[in-house]
């Protein structure tokens, strides 16, 4: 894991309620780097997050909302977050329901901006 990517994950993982964060290839949903709590499947998180982002991005494009930058899916038992880091990466985070989404979002967007060309 490159230092830069690793440092970003470390910052994100310090947000309360965070169960893990990772860099994912946006196109194929393959993990690039990860920092996850035990029991969290990085491959599953990466694949599902990338697929979800692809789907909602398609809808956003179709309704004229433009390119998606950040996605959050809240569920009964936690939250999945994804920030797009163009051209081809996603920063993905999995958190429990106590997470401060605003803070997580700031860290994730900062991470995404840091790797932008």
């Amino acid at each position: 894991m490159s230092d830069e990517l690793g440092r970003a994950l470390d910052r994100i993982s310090r947000v309360r309620g965070m169960r893990g964060s990772m860099w994912v290839s946006a196109e194929d949903g393959i993990p690039v780097a990860q920092l996850l709590m035990e029991g969290v499947s990085g491959k599953a998180v990466a694949a599902l997050a990338a697929s979800l982002v692809r789907k909602i991005s398609g809808t956003a494009g179709a309704v004229g909302a433009g390119r998606v930058r950040f996605v959050q899916m809240e569920a009964a038992g936690g939250t999945l977050l994804a920030a797009l880091a163009p051209p081809d990466l996603l920063v993905v985070a999995l958190a429990d329901s106590r997470v401060n989404i605003g803070l997580a979002r700031i860290e994730m967007m900062r991470a995404a901006a840091a790797v932008a060309p």
């Binding site: 309704v63 950040f70 899916m73 038992g77």
Partner: protein
């Protein structure tokens, strides 16, 4: 319509081997009698297995019933019998778009335009599909297709305009331009969505959202997050909030970027309450 169905039924009764079965099935489909339409179409095709129009009608019935795989199969049969059949190509585009395969949807529409560059509706549909494909993760480099033109039957499948839909969200800001209620098969129930050019894109949005809902459900299950409650997408010009709105229904709210996400969520929550109450009133 009822008169048409009566006369077509009588014609078919007089000559059961007649090709009029396809017209009857189509009339029944348009009237919403899909099971009866399916029965008539299958019966007719058993007698006329090479009847292009019959397969086309069958595909539309399957699409209305939400059986996309069978619809695709029927439209593929049409294309086998009549390569380049524009209705079938549009049908394939419709199914592929609903399945989230924007590349295949665009390819089918490009074939339509290659055959008839004056098909304006196909061109509009292609532009919409490409906008959907332009997002991260989706293939960005779709080939540039030919020129302009007009109507696009298959992508419309459920052509009611926003003005014909139940006014469930009256009282909400942009009730028929930014709030859409659909079912899990991707069929519009109420509200409406306008595209950047003002055109109604409700059907396309609903078709795409059916896939999003399934993906969110799968994600919640696989990651042991439980049932999903909301999905928010912050995009360049607008924020989208998607949420389940009662048994089998889904709500999409689009809000301008100037509205904070938290406020958009509250707005969506209000709309969801309204939608749920309306659905309960419908016995849904």
């Amino acid at each position: 319509m009822a008169e048409d169905i009566r006369s077509l039924t009588a014609a078919l009764a007089r000559d059961p081997s007649s090709l009029v079965y396809a017209e009857l099935a189509e009339a029944l489909r348009r009237r919403g009698q899909r099971d009866e339409a399916l029965r008539i179409a299958l019966h007719g095709l058993a007698r006329h297995p090479q009847h292009v129009h019959g397969h086309d009608v069958l595909a539309r019935i399957h699409a209305d019933l939400g059986d996309l795989d069978r619809a695709l199969l029927a439209w593929s049969k049409v294309l086998e019998l009549w390569p380049g059949h524009p209705g079938a190509l549009k049908g394939v585009a419709f199914v592929r778009f609903r399945q989230g395969d924007v590349v295949a949807a665009a390819a089918a529409l490009e074939q339509v335009l290659a055959l008839d560059p004056t098909d304006a509706a196909a061109r509009r549909a292609l532009e919409t599909v490409r906008r959907g494909a332009g997002a991260v993760g989706a293939p960005a480099a779709l080939p540039v297709a030919p020129a302009p033109a007009e109507a696009q039957p298959a992508l419309e499948a459920g052509e009611a305009g926003a003005q014909e839909r139940p006014a469930v969200f009256s009282g909400f800001d942009r009730a028929t331009a930014d709030i859409l209620l659909l079912d899990e098969r991707g069929l519009v129930l109420a509200g409406g969505l306008a595209g950047a050019d003002g055109a109604d894109v409700s059907e396309l949005a609903a078709a795409g959202l059916a896939g999003v809902s399934g993906e969110a459900k799968r994600t919640g299950e696989y990651l042991s997050l439980g049932a999903w409650r909301t999905l928010v997408a912050e995009a360049e010009t607008a924020n989208l909030v998607v949420a389940p709105a009662g048994e089998g229904a889904l709500l999409l709210v689009r809000r301008d970027r100037s509205m904070p996400v938290g406020l958009a969520l509250r707005f969506a929550e209000r709309a969801r309450g309204t939608a749920s109450a309306w659905l309960e009133g419908q016995g849904a």
